[in-house]
């Protein structure tokens, strides 16, 4: 059974999360979180050292949740290139389905301290893409390249391409077209399939 302490923590985090998801970051002051959670302002500081810590945890858990979905997509059967496509589709679909939250997590202007956090939470996405690209390279599906730089560019590109649409109301047909454009863009960006080595060496795994 969940301890009272943990229940309160979760309630506060949930309130913060709901506020972000409904109205964006700008609507979330500590008193607002308290009101939504049905507790006093002061109590929040019994559970979190500061607002920044609270948001750090909020961002972390939201990011982990998204990352898990993307990792699941990455585990689908298929070539590395195909799986990269699945991950992008998953990421983009989920972002477009929860626009306000995605906007807040990815791009909404926030106070300085929290912005730093946000930058940090892009790293897991970069790592996921970098790992898939490296796999593709080792399998001979993708030409050798600096997977860290390319992964960063992909994440930045996907987010930037989504930011405009994220802040506008949904337009049904366009969504699939947008995602398709982004997926093709990334697929192309990985370059063409390399010729098998003249030495006939088999692709290797580390």
């Amino acid at each position: 059974m969940e301890s009272r302490l943990a229940e309160r923590r979760a309630r506060i985090l949930g309130a913060a999360r709901n506020l972000v998801a409904e109205a964006g970051y700008s609507a979330v002051s500590v008193p607002a979180i308290a009101k939504r959670a049905g507790v006093s302002t002061g109590l929040i500081y019994n559970y979190f050292d500061s607002k920044a810590v609270l948001f750090d945890e909020l961002f972390r858990s939201a990011t982990e949740h998204e990352i898990e979905a993307c990792e699941a997509a990455a585990r689908q059967p298929g070539s590395a290139r195909e799986r990269i496509g699945y991950v992008i589709e998953t990421f983009a679909h989920r972002a477009l389905a929860a626009r306000q939250l995605a906007w807040a997590l990815l791009a909404e202007p926030v106070e300085t301290e929290i912005e730093q956090d946000r930058l940090r939470f892009r790293a897991p996405y970069r790592r996921l893409f970098a790992a898939l690209i490296r796999e593709g390279i080792n399998d001979g599906e993708i030409a050798d390249q600096d997977e860290d730089v390319v992964a960063a560019a992909m994440v930045g590109g996907i987010v930037e391409a989504l930011i405009g649409p994220l802040s506008e109301p949904p337009e049904v047909g366009d969504e699939d077209r947008l995602i398709h454009t982004i997926v093709s863009y990334c697929a192309n960006a990985l370059g063409s399939i390399p010729e098998p080595s003249e030495l006939g060496m088999a692709p290797y795994h580390d």
Copy 2:
């Protein structure tokens, strides 16, 4: 001759710009700008309605300056694909040569109101890339695609790939490799050169 009024404006903007370029946005308070410009805090409000307006102008002029350099690169002779490559090289070289400023303009966490500005000032880059891509499409060099989405993804990708290096001290050899990686990445992302149309239609210009 520059009017006294314009001279003062320019002096204040210059002071702000130098502070940003030397120490990043976090070092720039209104009193700090005043001190650097050798004027009083209050005077700044005779020339600018608010700090946000001052920075809006600062960002605008800095962005215009950069955009001009990129547009010059885009006017070099060459195919659309080649010229896109020149623009990326120009942009990246200049950013890496003035790291602190570039970091402040592109990614440093800033207060909410100013962040909104920053988002706006990415649009000119998107437009420049979009125009070049469209040219390439019309010339049959690039397969038809949504140039606005692709341009956004390129800009986002270039910036994201630079952000890490921008916040670290220069490492000489790496810089060219990094830029080369980004350029190839974008070149690939445009897709392969399309087959000439079966109907033998000539590429068209609007």
